[in-house]
Subunit: 451 residues, 4 copies
Amino acid sequence: MNMTFLQEMFNNITQRDALLRRRHGYNTNPDHADLVGACRALLESDGEASSIALASRALAMYERLDGSERRRFFARLAEEFAADPTRIDQAYAAYSESRDNATLNGLFEACEPRRQELFRRLNLASDGTYQLVRMREDLLALRREHPELAGIDADFAHLFASWFNRGFLMLKRIDWNTPASLLERIIHYEAVHEIHDWNDLRRRLDTRDRRCFAFFHPAIGDEPLIFVEVALCKGLPDHIQPILAGEDSDVEAPEDADTAAFFGISNCQTGLRGISFGNFLIKQVVQELKQELPQLKHFVTLSPVPGFAQWLKAQRDDDSTSEAQREALAALDEPGWHRDPERAEALKAVVRPMAARYLTQEKNDRGLPLNPVARFHLGNGAELHRINWLGDISDKGLEQAAGLMVNYLYVLNDIERNHENYTANATVACSSEVRDLARKARKQQAKGELK
Amino acid sequence: MNMTFLQEMFNNITQRDALLRRRHGYNTNPDHADLVGACRALLESDGEASSIALASRALAMYERLDGSERRRFFARLAEEFAADPTRIDQAYAAYSESRDNATLNGLFEACEPRRQELFRRLNLASDGTYQLVRMREDLLALRREHPELAGIDADFAHLFASWFNRGFLMLKRIDWNTPASLLERIIHYEAVHEIHDWNDLRRRLDTRDRRCFAFFHPAIGDEPLIFVEVALCKGLPDHIQPILAGEDSDVEAPEDADTAAFFGISNCQTGLRGISFGNFLIKQVVQELKQELPQLKHFVTLSPVPGFAQWLKAQRDDDSTSEAQREALAALDEPGWHRDPERAEALKAVVRPMAARYLTQEKNDRGLPLNPVARFHLGNGAELHRINWLGDISDKGLEQAAGLMVNYLYVLNDIERNHENYTANATVACSSEVRDLARKARKQQAKGELK
Amino acid sequence: MNMTFLQEMFNNITQRDALLRRRHGYNTNPDHADLVGACRALLESDGEASSIALASRALAMYERLDGSERRRFFARLAEEFAADPTRIDQAYAAYSESRDNATLNGLFEACEPRRQELFRRLNLASDGTYQLVRMREDLLALRREHPELAGIDADFAHLFASWFNRGFLMLKRIDWNTPASLLERIIHYEAVHEIHDWNDLRRRLDTRDRRCFAFFHPAIGDEPLIFVEVALCKGLPDHIQPILAGEDSDVEAPEDADTAAFFGISNCQTGLRGISFGNFLIKQVVQELKQELPQLKHFVTLSPVPGFAQWLKAQRDDDSTSEAQREALAALDEPGWHRDPERAEALKAVVRPMAARYLTQEKNDRGLPLNPVARFHLGNGAELHRINWLGDISDKGLEQAAGLMVNYLYVLNDIERNHENYTANATVACSSEVRDLARKARKQQAKGELK
Amino acid sequence: MNMTFLQEMFNNITQRDALLRRRHGYNTNPDHADLVGACRALLESDGEASSIALASRALAMYERLDGSERRRFFARLAEEFAADPTRIDQAYAAYSESRDNATLNGLFEACEPRRQELFRRLNLASDGTYQLVRMREDLLALRREHPELAGIDADFAHLFASWFNRGFLMLKRIDWNTPASLLERIIHYEAVHEIHDWNDLRRRLDTRDRRCFAFFHPAIGDEPLIFVEVALCKGLPDHIQPILAGEDSDVEAPEDADTAAFFGISNCQTGLRGISFGNFLIKQVVQELKQELPQLKHFVTLSPVPGFAQWLKAQRDDDSTSEAQREALAALDEPGWHRDPERAEALKAVVRPMAARYLTQEKNDRGLPLNPVARFHLGNGAELHRINWLGDISDKGLEQAAGLMVNYLYVLNDIERNHENYTANATVACSSEVRDLARKARKQQAKGELK
């Protein structure tokens, strides 16, 4: 009765649709073929009166497909929604003759996969953007086993890079006055250090020395894209547990702090993988904090070292590792080693140097650091500043990084230079302390001397 | 002193810049060559740390260029920021061999003009989106005389179609509680019936029987993209002057109205020409109004007929026009004819039929109606409903349309069909009254009989 | 450094204060005498430049007093901040001579207790209103044992009735999009059916068939004054447990519901006892719901019956109770009786009639119903509609009301009449079903026949 | 059809009302007697179910009364809604016997004029607060000629002082982004220097060196209570015309200013006369500005001197005025004197000293400065800092103050002391320059020497 105009139009279309179905003996649950048909109809519509309704219909169908039907739909997208080879050949012929902008535009249009126009039109539907992000999430899960779907992903990535341009993102502060529905999502999406419940969240957010900021996109409403948690401290923090526990810090008022420590950065939307905002987020948050608290001097992370424990394990079997190192590392096998001060001290003398080596010298096949967190912050222009022994003694921290955490330091005047050196020469900016540690690792390796 | 982080980074870059300038003897006012250099630097940056600053710098330079320098800059954009022919040739070779998605993506990337990536990066700057829209405004002004710039415009259009996707637009109601800064823009942008001052605006907006809605884009803040003015009436209105004067209507409460009359639709951003939102705007406004006032029965425009007077003039010299018609039309040459009831009545008998013929039968080279307003509403699925004699007796109304105005009617159940018939067969949906008028025009032409 | 103007003024005053203290050998912890001094200073200030600072100082002192010092402070307020008897005598003499408005005003001013002006001035402090509400909370706790403080309470009540005038209250909807800090208060203040944690809250609020509204006062920000929880149902609900559990109702969309059931009304501020908003809240919420969901037909409560079990116990020893009734009621002593269908059925036949009698015929010394919840809703014009057997089988429900709950029905056309009959003649409006039950109770009493 | 609950209740009551009217032969236009009846009904209702409706009805009746009926209504209020003498006598008897808080409260209640309870109940109506403010506006207009209405005004004043307590006021910034409907009110209410139209307003508000703040009360929505206009300057301004014209100042960015000049303070609600917020407004605005622009050093007004010209005229006939002074002052009679530099200079030598004398030494019957603006700022703790020759050369400025304007300076550390000296001893804080001028005035008077 109170039905809206667009709903009515949608109903009109759906009714006709239902009619067609009945005539042609379609069953009521759509399958991938129905969706392919709906997509064709959307592409053939001339983008005006009915596109919104057609887009909504197609997305609603997708929603109802199960996993295998979705896979089949993607396969059809890959095969049938590419571009017209004949048209490309003609456009190329024209281009290679005149080599001007007009024919270039012609060629560009001819070889744009029809999927891109399809996605643009699906985006007309209300909430379309978010549904497309989730559609890509499905696709990414399939991609590993179905490399033939890579082409579709390239189309998503091309459009998302435009749609999620930093100029369209909005930074919002998250705190205890934020709507519960959004905080619930923060609890859900926290990826670095799990938030167990509302009390846990309150401990992290609702003190005068905490800040949290997230990026949002206007078309996907209250769904955060990425967020960062910050603790205001005196001096650079070296242990994560007191921060997570919300223990009384020595910072009574925000104005007392000299350091902003970024202790958790979480991407929220798997479907936006590869569309990077983390770098912009950190820098915009630094700006916000500077504005609020001009006395802040240090901007630093307290970051995990995922993959280090695995690498360390591999080293124990490696020829280059000295006997002394190997013996020392054996202590890691004994549960609870970190609670035994003597044992821990002995390990520290071997593990920190090896971590310095791991982070500064171990490279992947593109010549960049093996550790992904290091790649992220070094690429942003930060400096690898300090390796913190027993920085994270949670089960997860012990398991993935032998309890280590790292401070990456963002020094205003060095960011540009660090960044340029990193991208041009893969140079890892690090403090002299870290450099000395890495040197010590080499010595231990060579001479078998520890300490 | 309170300078922000990003400003500082910007200053760092600008200082280096200034240094370079001095070394190389540049003068302080940038020219198109400086800007081309800045654009290259932006494209070469790897999109991370310094891109925002570089983008801001380039846009600031553009801002300071004068008209001829801007033209030179566009010329360079056209010539030097297309795509790499060798890379295209290679990509095409690969594609023509395998014809798969991977090589198609390769070709698509190779032939995307570098301008597109440039514009995407300029868009990183704060307020970049709006500055790009204004840059295209400049370009459109030059395009007529410089057809070689058409390629750049295609790149703008391609990106803007993505960025200004309807899914990203926000509808807001405009009324007397709207911030003055925004109302000022409404006064400025009104294109159909000029708003003279604040009192004039108040008459149009601030009564219970008026509504105004605009589309906004989150990245360009308070700048409206397009807006529509609505009067709530009893019955379909046929004269614009009482509406503009805010004369007491017989609609005491909005709940009394049965008709929503769209009496002005104004595009605000020249730089977004061809990126169409008007259709979506009308339909979303219909939806809003239905929600607020479920009793509304008719959604109709009161639209101008630009170009009709000019066409009419040409008819007077045309062979097909009968002597009787010609004689009647001569009255139009006498100033003030519309205030003379007898003369006006005689004219009406000739002019309205000819207008019906003009609107329904005169076509452009694409086979669509000659009149642009008719094309817009018929394309949206509306029906050409009534031709109103002396509908607009302002100087402008008399001059451009012999005082005529037209009602286009949006009938929910017909929109789809009308639209499809129009796009498929260029069929003009019209009321029987208009059809009869057009028939009468033919008779008058043939037999020379008036009335 | 960034200290604000008013803070500086406050500091100036506090420094002078500190100086005075040191001179006069005061210790650093204020006692009631210090506070009395601060109150005098505030009353003697001429209400302009320094009043805000003086008010803040006095409230800060009060905050630091412990319970016994606060009691002493109230005692001093009672004794020393009344009115000047001589001035009253003179004003009365003048009044009794001329009996005009001028001398009446004089008398009124003379006998206004100075406490009222004191409280008005304390209210100048930022957050003063809320601190005064909490001050009265302390006072009410003391009042029972210290009847001499009743005078102060009258002053609070007089002012609060003005300040918390319904015209100043703001109704806000509470839902899952409400800031967490406010929801936390809702959890805290819920007085009828305890909310255990955030998941419990979510079940009550975050479904399409739930609503929650609260009154706020602009000067005390996010502290709710009173709130009501509503469930949208088909038909009048008779059991509270499914509602609290958020069990799937048969109301799929809010538009399906025909009934709004108020299942919890909680006053949040003890310090506002006696300042009644509950009546206005219910009526304004009815209005809001009608606006949103015009199809709603019934507005009803599902209310507890506190005190009934106690009364019932007393009846068992009362001569008027028949032997048969007494025997039946004995079953209530056996734990878990409500899970034994046979026993429960037997009890039902006795207990419901007695509840009807209790609610309609048992009166307090003002001739009004003994049950406070009944007094509230009957006073608002509702009708005692139905007595629900095993309506609340929680421990609390069994303990306070033998598991009974009551529906009070708000019938638009009867509210006025019910209300008038109630206030004029203490008439209890009730359904014929309840009336029949009460009659049956009398019969059972008289004849000893059950059923 | 969509009628709301409270409306329906209101209609119910009004229908009964209409019935009564017809029965008793009332005419349809209410007169003061009807309103008195409605007020009685409201007072007799027990404040619950129907009070809101009864209050709305009474206020709607008042709205429809013409001036003379309103006067009659006030007369009835004065006569019939005072207090019950017998009850007062009894309460006084009880009080004079026991002299305790209980009997004091009894007396206080007995002698509270029933008007106060009436106004509190009228305030239940939606928008009641604002309507009561306007009702007092009417009353104030009548009071001069009808001193017998003073008693009613005392009741209004008593309640308004509670309702408009500073703790309930909200400060909002007004600028070009403020809703037009509110800006329109600012144009309307500006009392010091008239705002002619929207362009004029824009010049005053919409530059980086302007600020405007207003106090609002939550219950009267968008109606401002008082507002102040501020110009940010370098140094203390001495002329108003450049400020009003929005002339380019030497303040390019707000951060460049060292002075905030308050150049217009306008009370908006005549009905709130005597309920003072100006003092709080100035101090809260100083605080806001300090927060935004910590570099500001001076807070000063540029104020008119209403009444000075009139006083000056009287002096010309006064014996104490020397012949030389008299001769000089004669130049004031010649129109355009301020445009003649020589004449103006001669006048300046006489008029400024006399102004200093007028402002510092001429007292009213309460021993306070004759000039109301001086009383206001001196009472707030400001210092009379400078007398500016030709500070306001508008017609109004010339007419009321011979073109003079005055700077009152708010010096943080002196405000308290100035204020205390002023209230205790009526001491006028002034700069040595002003003191010297006043001394010169005495000399000129005595010796007849000018200069």
